[in-house]
């Protein structure tokens, strides 16, 4: 069997990552790769450790063991486990959204998108000093960043609400805004934590279109955690399945869908099959340990 496409040119390689919280092993020796320009989905039942993996990638946790390597298109490599969380976004160009939406609710939609462009604007304003005394370069940079915000507002259909507070938007719009805010940091890899949670079928269809569009026009690679299988199966190129912090399946959506271990993890199994599944899991744990 030839190596899958994501192994050839990965944007993110997760290598033997383990995350322990005291005695609890949330993620156990996880390795996978996310291909450049791919939409990679990370799925698994509740408590499987998906968000923990995300928090390790985006620097909110430091993994107990393992390596997280991010490769840009220009060949530069960043080791995420060694970087401070804000640096992961600023220099490694990994952006993320949150499971429970974290917008700046008291700031307007436009301001939310401007805050996301903090670092380039900070440089343009000469670390505030030049901007404070009215240097024209800052004004130009601000105009440019408003243009960029407008571009994303058009994409997410929120241009007419640009001057409303973000906290006033309906739930679906808040989700879209959070994605647009993350994209305003010009990321190489965009990590989405359950982007379709709480969306109705029409909204979730729109979300699929938005994500496909982001990949096509921006060339950003996407990594997403999702429970909504319609989203996962429809748009992702590559699916990684976690259960109890261990990878139980890895492949194309079709392959994963047919994997008996995934079916067992998701649907549960009859009593007489438990032993069988446990055996299968033991094999996986053994494999993981080696």
């Amino acid at each position: 069997m030839p190596a899958p496409s994501w192994e050839k040119d990965p944007v993110l390689s997760v290598e033997h990552v383990t995350m322990r919280f005291g005695g609890l092993v949330a993620v156990n020796d996880l390795s996978f790769a996310a291909g450049r320009g791919d939409i990679t989905a990370l799925i698994g039942p509740n408590g499987a450790g998906k968000t923990t993996v995300f928090n390790c990638i985006t620097g909110f946790y430091k993994p107990t063991q393992g390596m997280l390597r991010l490769q840009h298109g220009d060949g530069s490599t960043h080791l995420l486990e060694r970087m401070a969380d804000f640096k992961i976004s600023a220099t490694a160009k990994v952006a993320r959204t949150f499971q429970n939406i974290r917008l700046f609710s008291g700031m307007t939609v436009l301001e939310n998108l401007l805050v996301a462009q903090h670092n380039p604007l900070m440089i343009a304003s000469g670390m505030t000093v030049l901007g404070l005394i009215g240097f024209p370069a800052y004004k130009k940079a601000e105009k440019r960043s408003i243009e960029k915000a407008k571009y994303w507002l058009d994409k997410i259909n929120l241009t007419d609400r640009a001057d409303d507070p973000a906290g006033d938007l309906p739930y679906g719009a808040q989700r879209r805004l959070e994605i647009a805010r993350a994209m305003c940091t010009s990321p190489e890899l965009l990590c989405l934590d359950e982007p379709a949670a709480g969306l109705n079928p029409r909204e979730s269809g729109e979300l699929n279109q938005l994500l496909l569009d982001i990949r096509k026009t921006e060339g950003t690679s996407l990594l997403l955690i999702e429970h909504d299988m319609s989203v996962v199966m429809e748009i992702s190129d590559h699916v990684v399945v976690l259960e109890y912090g261990i990878k139980i399946s890895d492949g194309t959506p079709a392959e994963v869908k047919a994997d008996p271990r995934v079916i067992a993890a998701y649907l549960g199994v009859d009593d007489d099959e438990v032993a069988e599944v446990e055996e299968a899991l033991d094999v996986v744990v053994e494999e993981a340990r080696q």
Binding site: F104, M107, T108, T159
Partner: protein
């Protein structure tokens, strides 16, 4: 509404009101009779005797009963009627006063000493320019400085007076020992205070909420205790006196003995009012500088980052904002303005001692920021006028002696009335005088953000 009842001519229910009034009168008598009516004192032969103040009790009970009667008979029915009426959304333009409050306020501030002097003459104007004008403007400036830390960045700082003290002592010590001019020491005091802001900022970076408040409070106390106990440097509780006056860049001074004393230059009679008026314009300029810088900063990435930090720190970090630097700049810039105000304070008083930098000062400044509406410049200014001007005006209420007897001292009730007023205002306007947030950028139209959506910060 289903039934649009015609506005009933309202009939006060006098019987019920009278009953209510009598009842409240009896309760008031029960409370104030023993509390106010009886007082034990010593007579000439050191015997304990009971003095009675039944007249005063009668006045209080009268006020309570009549007040209750009026409330019940006239105010409550009106209020009920207002509530029953469907609310009409006022789409009209805000009034002229409301739209131009900033310009009007600024013009008034610029001409305030002129108005006072032309009304009262130089000698009488001193009190109004100094106790009201300068005093209020110092607190406006302190409020605006602290507003950066508490209002914008959402970091509750209960030790702000420490930076005020650093500024004041920087000027006092360097001016008395090295004879440096105010104009050199003003920026220096700001820099020193900013440095202490960063020194405080580092250990508290990880703290939030209550913990941050406690550590900053402790910092304020530490600075004060150092000032008291480091006698060799600060002269302890006795303080530093004969701090030189400010001059106008050396061209004009305010010491009568100098050859270029302002009176001699312009051929005016000697008066201490000139110095006060000069100081008034100086603090006005400093306060406006604070406002200008803050307004500019809010529209810069750093200002937006402060507000984003107040809204959600985790999201900030996910967007690549260095929250450490962002917090430290908030502390440093807030402290810098505190330092400016401190050096001005030292120059104005001519004397500094640790007494001026107690926790109550910090509490008053925090109260001004909270009362004004967190993050709002105009709200903070209004709150400073209300709090500082309000407490000062209570000193002027000597006419109350006519009502309450000659030994009534309104000064004693200042803090009581002050507290009561604060509670009332916070019940009436829980988000402060200006509960809205002005956005820093807009695409088509600038709409104020309702205060209910704006976070108060995590500490």
């Amino acid at each position: 509404m289903s039934t649009s009842a015609p506005a009933r001519p309202f009939e006060p229910d006098f019987a019920a009101a009278a009953k209510d009034a009598v009842l409240s009168g009896v309760i008031a008598l029960g409370i104030f009779g023993p509390l106010v009516g009886l007082r034990t004192t010593q007579n000439m032969s050191n015997q304990l005797i009971v003095e009675s103040h039944w007249g005063l009790v009668a006045i209080i009970v009268g006020i309570v009963a009549v007040g209750r009667f009026v409330l019940r008979a006239f105010v409550f029915p009106r209020m009920a009627m207002w509530k029953a009426q469907p609310k009409v959304e006022s789409t009209a333009e805000p009034s002229f006063l409301r739209r131009n409050i900033k310009t009007i306020g600024l013009v008034f501030l610029l001409f305030y000493p002129v108005i006072i002097v032309s009304m009262l003459g130089y000698q009488q104007s001193i009190k109004w320019v100094d106790n009201f004008g300068i005093q209020i403007l110092i607190y406006v400036m302190l409020g605006w400085g602290l507003n950066i830390v508490v209002g914008l960045a959402g970091l509750l700082d209960l030790g702000y007076v420490a930076f005020y003290a650093v500024g004041a002592y920087s000027y006092a010590l360097l001016a008395t020992h090295f004879g440096l001019s105010f104009w050199i020491l003003l920026p220096l005091a700001g820099i020193l205070a900013a440095m202490w802001g960063i020194i405080l900022g580092f250990p508290v970076l990880r703290l939030r909420g209550d913990y941050l408040a406690i550590v900053t409070l402790a910092f304020g106390e530490i600075i004060r205790l150092v000032l008291i106990n480091w006698r060799e440097l600060t002269n302890g509780s006795a303080g530093i006196s004969s701090i030189p006056k400010v001059d106008l860049f050396g061209w004009i001074t305010f010491n009568v003995a100098d050859p270029n004393y302002v009176g001699k230059v312009f051929g005016l009679a000697n008066s201490s009012a000139y110095y006060k008026i000069f100081l008034y314009y100086l603090i006005l300029a400093l306060a406006l500088l604070t406002a200008f810088v803050t307004i500019r900063l809010r529209r810069m990435p750093i200002g937006r980052a402060w507000e984003a930090l107040r809204e959600d720190e985790v999201a900030c970090r996910s967007l690549g904002i260095n929250t450490t630097n962002t917090k430290l700049t908030a502390f440093a810039i807030g402290a810098m303005f505190g330092g400016f105000a401190g050096s001005f304070f030292a120059a104005r008083q001519g004397f500094v001692s640790p007494e001026s930098f107690v926790f109550l000062e910090s509490a008053v400044i925090v109260a001004i920021v909270v009362l004004g509406g967190m993050g709002s410049m105009i709200g903070v200014a209004i709150a400073a006028v209300a709090m500082i001007g309000g407490t000062e005006i209570l000193r002027e209420l000597s006419f109350l002696k006519v009502v309450f007897g000659s030994d009534f001292n309104p000064d004693l009730f200042r803090m009581l009335i002050f507290g009561l007023a604060m509670v009332t205002i916070m019940v009436w306007k829980p988000r402060g005088f200006v509960g809205q947030r002005e956005p820093t950028a807009f695409l088509t139209e600038r709409k104020a953000v309702s205060g209910s959506l704006v976070q108060e910060g995590h500490g």
